[in-house]
Amino acid sequence: MIDQLDDIEARVSAALNATADLDALEEWRRATIGRKGEVQLLTRRMGEIDPADRPAFGKRINEIKISLQAAFEARQEALTRAAHDAEADAESLDVTLPGRRPVLGGLHPSTLVMRRIERIFGDMGFQTYRSPDVVTDQLNFGDLNMPPDHPARDMQDTFYTTDPSVVLRTHTSGGQILAMQEQHPAPVRVILPGMCYRNEQITSRSEIQFHQIEGLAVGPAITFADLKGTLTEFARRLFGHGRGARFRASYFPFTEPSAEMDIACFLCDGKGCQLCKETGWLEILGCGMVHPTVLRNGGYDPEKWSGFAFGMGPERIAMLRHGIRDIRYFWSNDLRFLRQFQRFV
């Protein structure tokens, strides 16, 4: 009888290995190691065994049960995995199909560039001060040391309104006067962003409106060397630390001495190319020490106070930085242009 056990085990094992899927396996389990299965029922035949052999017989049955149970579990795991694999094959995705992207909004490039500039100056203690677009001739010119028929008025083509004493501001510099008058007698450190207007032909290089960011620092001991240091640091942060900058003499009626700051051309690194008109330099901003007349108009005694001022055009900076060839893109509001700035970093 004990000898038959080996045969039974071999047969049942073979049947287990032949099961093809989980259903067949369950069928096998029920027929073999299940409660009423063939292997379970072997115990009942203990009576037919010589009492001396019974312990050995019982032990052997147990071994078979344990071994079959283990084999069953292994088979079950293998068949389950195979089933999952088959299922996965049927449901596999073409991962190269396009993803579903949420619709993103975005900010205008001028906003983005101005925010970046404002942040850099904000870190240096320059706070934003806003002033009106439509101003008196006196504020736009007179208070800035440009009386009527001053030759510097030729530098800017002005939009006059039907009231001859009122103009659209040609620069945000007039805001300097308002900021000084408001903050006097404290020292001043402000930047003045805003829309400016000039009566020009609209072409790829000139527009009738553009933003300007003006800066002003007034204090008891501010020097031209401070101006250079501050703006050099600004240029490093905006354009990268290795970018060279130079200051050259220039003229603005409201500053003396006056300067223009250039940075080494991004495109050719100073070797000379079309972008920088073969000079190797790109003009970025105008600056200078606040003219004594302007300080006085702001309420500060030029014998005791000094200051520097600077002004730049964010659209120009954006054009240079991002290779924008046509300034008219800025107000054309074409989504095919604007959306590209969702990748602005």
Binding site: H108, T128, I208, K228, Y251
Partner: protein
């Protein structure tokens, strides 16, 4: 200002390359915009030394059977002479003449070299040998245009030896004779003194330390005296401080000498004839514009007012209704604030700006009255602007030419007319200078220099830098200010701040140290408006909308598109000098700007979600300045989502009123504001919205209106060119940010996270169709106090089961007590209370 370096070299020694010089000048404020090279290394059209050379013309012979060609025999330094066929008209007068004594030179270009071909659009062309009339031609005598020097192709270059040219010898490379480098300098308003070769030379001398060599201005006056023949008076010396006149008689008009033509061409002036060229030459060289009158014409006019008396020149303001035809043949109406050069018979020229046609020199003119005057700069600028005339003379005078220059310019011009136009200068100079310009002296405090520049220079160093620019500086001591005298060619020094700039410029901006701001940091105020506006923009962008920025200039017509009915346009800030007819007033509406942006994008885009934050400029009738208001405008139209391959196209899934309302709610919620909406008053023709589909945005609490939103009336949308598909409305909103920003709470207050669980109850109420959902919600919240903490509408139902004229509103109610867990009887009690109260307040009954 174009500065040929050979010309510049007359007044200052030039060391170093043109590039180095250009950098030096640029850094000192004379920005060199371009470096143009002619014939020299690096030029676009180089003149190889062995192929392009000076050649002496020995003989000019006819070419058999060819009327329009001549054969020139030239000596070009080789062992034998060379024959060149040319059609140059300016060689024909020399046909069959003995040229032994003429000393006539041309520019010879041999085969293999390149030239600009006037018959092929000035293309650079290599010269190849060819046969003409049986004669081999392998060289050419060049015109200015062929050498890349100018526009002139009337004839070949023919020149004579002159002091201004290097020594001529046959075969000398042309690049050594006529080659040059021109610096194109941007003359900014405060360095108008550099709108001249001499002015630039002064700067170069100061910057390099080389010596400045002012021009010698000898004057050979051997004609009969001018005294008694010309008198000058000035009625307005404040506008015309000086008037210098010289009389040059017996001139012969013709071409100016070639070296002068060459320099004028390089400087960008077209040579015309000796008298005009000399006038221009002196203006460019000295910076003093000058004017030539036909003296005989003046003489004739004098006979009309004082028979055989002197010519009486008077400068005076224009008379009422006076007119003058200027030399550009335009009759000009003059204004009484414009200063004129006149005689008793009438005006002759617009002083300092433009000559009159009738006193201008003509081809027959033999006697010339030369004027070199000083004019007050503002008056000249005003006159130019009023007349719309901008001349080289006006450019210089309007920026300031010191009166000291008038005599220098007059002497230089007169002597050149004598030398190169064959005139005789009448004895004596009329120099009417009633109020000589005062010497300007400035006390220069070195402490001020240090305080402003950050430079620590000794008195001696400072004085040395200033002396290089010809400032007079008294013995410098380190105590007390420097006494600085301003040289008499400068008008731009008003105070010591101007001297600081001069010191910094000559010292070099690049050598001034860079320091970190160590001054007092002002109180940090921040800019609340700006940061909240940024938050509005960020929220809208986060919600998937794109920011646009529009022109703030528009037309009343463009904004009238917002209204269905014609109305009297409101007052606008209007431009007096618009540059284009579609930008004439400052906008009053931001929504019109955004609708325009939407329309222009609708050509290639279905889904439009745009906003702008910016200013509008409403103005009251009679006010000069507008009230500038910050607004936000939003436009939505088209599909809610972007298209995707997986989603079936659902045409109904378009933006509607509630999308726009959600956007507005989110923006205001993120500013910490409670907001309510009320149906807009019966839409009038004055709003762009559809009746019954627009709302007023009210701030919670006082119910202050801060904006409007709604469906844009399809006819208004069509006015803007927006015609979306049926079922896809155009939604718009406008917010008054100034008012909103005033109401933003100072800080966010956080509520504790609840400790006890909440209970959810659903409740469906039937109300009259006309009852707004907001009042039902308000009634629920009021009735449920304090346990009812949130109400959420989840369904609106209309139908037979409810009955005509009614609607069912179904709500999730959230109930919670702060101090205990609610039990069933609590919620039942509350439900009964709520039902009772909402029935009384809004007539709601429970939907069973």
């Amino acid at each position: 200002m174009r500065v040929p370096l050979n010309w510049l070299g007359d007044f200052v020694e030039l060391d170093g390359s043109p590039d180095e010089l250009a950098e030096l000048l640029t850094n000192a404020g004379l920005e060199v915009k371009a470096i143009d090279r002619f014939g020299v290394d690096g030029a676009e059209l180089p003149w190889p030394a062995d192929l392009v050379m000076a050649a002496r013309v020995l003989r000019v012979d006819p070419v058999p059977d060819a009327d329009r060609l001549v054969l020139a025999t030239v000596d070009y330094g080789a062992d034998s002479t060379r024959q060149v066929i040319t059609g140059a008209p300016n060689l024909f007068p020399y046909l069959d003449q003995d040229l032994g004594g003429a000393d006539l030179w041309g520019a010879l270009l041999l085969a293999g070299a390149s030239y600009r071909n006037p018959y092929r659009d000035l293309k650079i062309t290599r010269l190849k040998p060819k046969k003409l009339r049986g004669i081999t031609s392998d060289a050419m005598l060049c015109s200015a245009v062929e050498l890349g020097l100018g526009e002139d192709h009337e004839g070949i270059i023919l020149f004579e030896p002159a002091d201004e040219l290097p020594t001529l010898e046959p075969g000398r490379p042309l690049t050594e004779v006529l080659g040059d480098v021109v610096l194109d300098i941007d003359v900014i308003p405060n360095i108008a003194r550099c709108a001249s070769i001499m002015g630039v030379a002064r700067e170069v001398a100061a910057l390099t330390g080389a010596e400045f060599r002012p021009p010698a201005v000898p004057l050979t006056m051997d004609g009969p005296p001018i005294e008694g023949r010309v008198e000058v008076t000035t009625e307005n010396p404040e506008l015309n401080p000086r008037f210098v006149a010289l009389l040059i008689e017996g001139i012969e008009q013709g071409a100016s000498p070639y070296w002068m033509q060459h320099r004028l061409q390089l400087a960008g002036q077209r040579p015309i004839g000796n008298v005009v060229d000399i006038s221009n030459y002196v203006m460019l060289e000295v910076g003093q514009p000058n004017h030539t009158f036909d003296y005989d014409l003046l003489r004739q006019r004098a006979d009309s007012y004082a028979k055989s008396g002197p010519v009486r020149i008077v400068t005076r303001l224009a008379h009422e209704d006076e007119r003058l035809t200027t030399l550009d043949a335009t009759e000009r109406e003059l204004r009484t604030n414009q200063i004129m050069v006149a005689d008793p018979a009438g005006s002759l020229s617009v002083g300092g700006v433009m000559g009159g046609r009738d006193s201008e020199i003509g081809p027959e003119t033999r006697n010339v009255l030369l004027e070199a005057a000083a004019w007050e700069r503002r008056s000249i600028r005003r006159t130019q602007r009023q007349l719309g005339v901008h001349t080289e003379a006006g450019f210089r005078f309007s920026r300031g030419v010191h009166p000291s220059q008038a005599l220098l310019g007059a002497r230089r011009a007169a002597e050149l007319l004598r030398l190169h136009a064959g005139g005789t200068i009448a004895e004596g100079i009329v120099d009417h200078y009633p109020q000589p310009a005062p010497d300007v002296a400035v006390d220069f405090d070195l402490g001020y220099l240090r305080r402003l520049s950050g430079l620590d220079l000794s008195a001696e160093e400072t004085a040395d830098l200033l002396r290089r620019l010809e400032f007079g500086v008294d013995a410098a001591t380190d105590s007390g200010p420097l006494r600085v005298t301003v040289p008499d060619h400068r008008l731009d020094i008003e105070g010591q701040h101007d001297l600081v700039e001069e010191v910094c410029r000559i010292y070099g901006y690049d050598r001034i140290p860079s320091t970190v701001l160590s001054d007092v940091l002002p109180p940090q105020r921040g800019n609340r408006e700006q940061s909240f506006e940024d938050r509005v923009k960020d929220t809208l962008a986060d919600l998937g909308l794109q920011e646009v920025v529009s022109y703030r200039l528009t037309t009343p017509e463009a904004e009238a598109k917002l209204h269905l009915e014609d109305a009297e346009p409101p007052p606008y800030v209007r431009l007096a000098n618009p540059s284009t007819q579609d930008r004439v007033v400052m906008r009053r509406s931001l929504l019109a700007s955004v609708l325009e942006a939407a329309a222009s994008n609708s050509r290639f885009e279905d889904r439009l979600a745009l906003f702008e934050v910016g200013r509008v400029f409403p103005v009251e009738q009679g006010d000069a300045l507008p009230e500038e208001r910050e607004r936000a405008a939003i436009v939505l139209s088209g599909p809610r989502r972007s298209s995707h391959w997986q989603a079936a196209d659902n045409p109904d899934d378009c933006f509607d009123f509630f999308d726009m309302k959600g956007v507005v709610e989110t923006v205001l919620d993120r500013l910490g504001l409670r907001v309510e909406f009320a149906a807009a008053e019966a839409a009038s023709a004055a709003t762009p919205y559809r009746a019954g589909r627009s709302a007023t945005v009210l701030l919670g609490g006082e119910g202050e209106p801060v904006g409007l939103l709604g469906e844009v009336h399809p006819a208004v949308a069509a006015n803007f060119g927006l015609e979306p598909a049926a079922g896809s409305p155009v939604l718009a909103a406008e917010l008054d940010l100034d008012r909103i920003l005033e109401r933003i709470p100072a800080s966010l207050q956080v509520e504790p996270v609840p400790v006890y669980p909440e209970v959810r109850e659903d409740l469906a109420l039937i109300v009259d169709e006309s009852t707004p959902a907001a009042s039902v919600e308000a009634a629920l919240l009021k009735a449920g106090k304090p346990l009812l903490c949130a109400v959420e509408l989840f369904d609106v139902f209309r139908g037979e089961a409810i009955g005509e004229g009614s609607k069912s509103l179904a709500y999730h109610l959230t109930l919670r007590a702060p101090n205990r867990t609610l039990r069933d009887r609590d919620t039942k009690k509350l439900r009964r209370r709520i039902l009772g109260q909402v029935e009384r307040s809004v007539g709601a009954r429970l939907r069973e």
